[in-house]
């Protein structure tokens, strides 16, 4: 993926660029809002990572400027302002995701990869398949090896979100945000508990596990059996 980082803090920017490159992406960097706007409008990027507090042009005005110009490149807003209302203003300005500082790079990477993949997948698919597991969005059924697996509505949405991002890492906060629509840091292992219940239903009686835990980051659903 081609990623543009708009961040004024040099060290943070170079760290991000390095880490994204290690993860296999192409990265450009802009040090202020104006430069970021010029780059974003002149070259095709898959995802923009924009800091909110920027010199010369504020991150939010950069985003709303892009949207007004008809650019729909997904934008992830990075900000020291992490309150709910800040998040709302960030998303209203046209951001697609919002990550408060400080963040874990694994979280940022997971979110950026989820954003980069989204446009091609959005709302077109009526079913997802990973290995022998199939989720049908229209009939609300989940089958594995032709065998129907009954799921609670919330479990269905959990699995749906995971399968939408099959092969990508999905973090706990991403699940909390997209499946439950909550924004907070749980003190308990509440997401792990729900994942382990889901895992018991879709993986337990089958030879090959599809739902994997990614240490220090989150979860991913993929068929690694043949690899």
């Amino acid at each position: 993926m081609r990623i543009l980082i708009v961040e004024d803090d040099k060290e943070a920017a170079s760290y991000l660029a390095k880490a994204f490159r290690e993860a296999g992406h192409v990265v450009d960097h802009a040090a202020d809002g104006e430069e970021g706007y010029d780059l974003a409008t002149s070259a095709p990027y898959d995802v923009l990572v924009v800091d909110r507090m920027l010199p010369r042009r504020d991150g939010l005005s950069l985003i709303s400027g892009l949207r007004a110009e008809g650019h729909h490149t997904p934008v992830l807003v990075l900000s020291a302002l992490g309150q709910v209302d800040d998040r709302v203003t960030g998303l209203r300005a046209g951001g697609d995701d919002y990550l408060p500082k400080p963040y874990a790079f694994s979280e940022l990477l997971a979110r950026v990869e989820a954003l980069g993949r989204r446009p091609r997948q959005r709302e077109v698919e009526t079913s997802y398949t990973v290995g022998d597991l199939t989720l049908d969005r229209l009939s609300h059924t989940v089958t594995r090896s032709g065998q129907e697996i009954p799921l609670q509505p919330r479990e269905f949405r959990l699995l749906e979100y995971l399968m939408q991002h099959a092969g990508q890492v999905v973090t706990r906060t991403m699940l909390l945000e997209h499946v439950w629509e909550y924004h907070f840091d749980p003190q308990t292992n509440v997401i792990d508990v729900h994942i382990s219940r889901l895992r018991a239903k879709i993986d337990k009686d089958f030879d090959r596990p599809l739902l994997h835990t990614v240490r220090g980051a989150g979860y991913t659903i993929r068929d690694s059996g043949r690899a």
Partner: protein
């Protein structure tokens, strides 16, 4: 019906009470003044009459003594022709009128006791209606009688004038009362209502609102201008506070971000497998995260307590909210070998911020789960309830843990307070502070009760659409 409540509201206001009391006092005082005035003038007038009559009688008696009946008749005749003259009558021993300005008189008057002041009805000379007068009859030697009196018409006229004035004054007072009433209800109450409505909107978080100023320079305008100046100051202070916390957030989080980034990078590049170094890095990242969480919680409490003017309020179905939270956490409780009981009344609504209410509920539930765990033997049992109670919505979370000693209940709501028993458990001591701050922002409160065993934490919030919170739609 709305008319009735409007009138009821009118009666309850201080302004109308004052107006009524003022009106009653004024009526009473002016009535007393009038009565005093009329009685005093009546007695003064009467004394005047008596003095005049007595003076005339003694003068005429002297005339008689000196000049005999001839002189008396001449004098009386002369006097009775003057304009505004007193009443005179002289009779002989057979009660024949000799001279005077009285045409006809009750006979008994002349026959009565000598010297008494009496009220007489007479017809003046030349006819006309009968009139009233005060008079003295005096017996002269030789069987002659002399009557001297004073017509009372003047006094009666004066009394009727006073009565007229009294009636007019009462009418003026009533009109005055009516005008006061209309003024108070139309103008004063309306402006007070407008101010109340505005201040309610300001309290519910919109600090940019200002009280209306009409420009008439009256006391309401002066009050509004003063309060608006205060609001400007408060808004500036709040904005300053927000700016400071934003800057703190930015300036402290940037190094924290760098620190965490570097640790992660070190962890990633260290593939040689020194497990000791790895462990150090991982625990440092954990500490870093704990620091970040505490920091975030503190910032959040500060902003919620500052009235969080930008937290948008919607009408929220809290029954649904409680169910969602229960659904999220029930598996956690079940994994602990316990469970989550739910008693929820449907359709409870409050005006609030969903995110903050969810956060508050989750803090309570996570607390309950944490302390329910300390109860060895059986699993973590957590009870959630939501019900209405007298215009309030009650959200309760109960555990069966050790509870909180009475002496500490107030203290645990303060920041960073953790009880000895929970020192070893993870947490920052900010959870309940945040819940209390969220409750205050929603004009509610957090109550901690002993559930014997365990703690019952109740969030009391004013129900949406309640009588108190509703601003009258239109109308006024």
């Amino acid at each position: 019906m709305s008319e009735m409540t409007a009138t009821g509201r009118l009666f309850r206001t201080t302004a109308i009470k004052l107006a009524l009391i003022y009106l009653a006092a004024l009526t009473l005082a002016s009535g007393a003044v009038l009565v005093y005035l009329s009685q005093n003038t009546a007695s003064v007038l009467r004394e005047q009459v008596v003095d005049t009559v007595d003076a005339e009688i003694s003068g005429l008696a002297d005339q008689y003594r000196i000049g005999g009946i001839r002189a008396l008749v001449a004098t009386v005749d002369a006097r009775s022709r003057r304009p505004g003259a007193s009443l005179y009558l002289v009779t002989d021993f057979a009660a024949n009128q000799l001279v005077g300005n009285i045409e006809q008189l009750d006979d008994r008057v002349l026959a009565g006791e000598s010297g008494e002041l009496q009220r007489v009805i007479y017809t003046p000379i030349g006819g006309g209606p009968r009139r009233e007068a005060l008079a003295r009859v005096f017996q002269l030697s030789g069987g002659f009688r002399l009557l001297v009196g004073r017509d009372l018409q003047e006094q009666q006229y004066f009394r009727s004038l006073l009565a007229e004035a009294m009636r007019f004054w009462l009418f003026v007072l009533a009109a005055l009362g009516l005008v006061t009433w209309v003024f108070v209800s139309r103008r004063v109450l309306k402006r007070i209502d407008a101010m109340t409505a505005t201040s309610r909107r300001i309290m519910s978080g919109d600090l940019s609102e200002r009280l209306p100023v009409e420009g008439s320079g009256d006391e309401f305008d002066r009050l509004a201008i003063g309060l608006n100046a205060m609001l400007n100051r408060i808004e500036a202070l709040m904005q300053g506070l927000k700016d400071v916390s934003d800057n703190i957030a930015h300036d402290l989080k940037t190094p924290l971000t760098r620190m965490r980034n570097r640790l992660e990078e070190a962890l990633r590049s260290d593939l040689s497998g020194d497990s000791k170094a790895r462990e150090v890095l991982e625990t440092t990242i954990d500490d870093c995260d704990a620091l970040i969480r505490t920091f975030n919680a503190l910032l959040r409490i500060a902003r919620v307590e500052a009235g969080s003017s930008d937290a948008s309020f919607d009408e929220i179905d809290v029954s649904e909210l409680v169910r969602e939270v229960a659904e999220l956490y029930a598996p956690v409780a079940e994994d602990e070998g316990g469970g989550m009981e739910l008693r929820v009344t449907d359709g409870l609504r409050v005006s609030g911020n969903r995110e903050l209410l969810v956060q508050a509920l989750i803090n309570l539930v996570e607390n309950a789960l944490k302390y329910a765990r300390q109860d060895k033997g059986e699993g973590a049992r957590v009870e959630l309830e939501a019900r209405a109670e007298g215009g309030e919505v009650l959200l309760g979370v109960r555990d069966h843990g050790p509870g909180i000693p009475d002496a500490d209940k107030e203290r645990v709501l303060h920041r960073f307070v953790r009880l000895e028993a929970s020192r070893s458990a993870p947490g920052s001591g900010l959870g309940l502070s945040l819940v209390a701050a969220v409750a205050r922002l929603h004009r509610g409160r957090l109550e901690l009760d002993d559930a014997q065993p365990g703690l019952m934490a109740r969030l009391r919030l004013p129900a949406a659409g309640g009588a108190d919170g509703a601003v009258p739609a239109g109308g006024d």
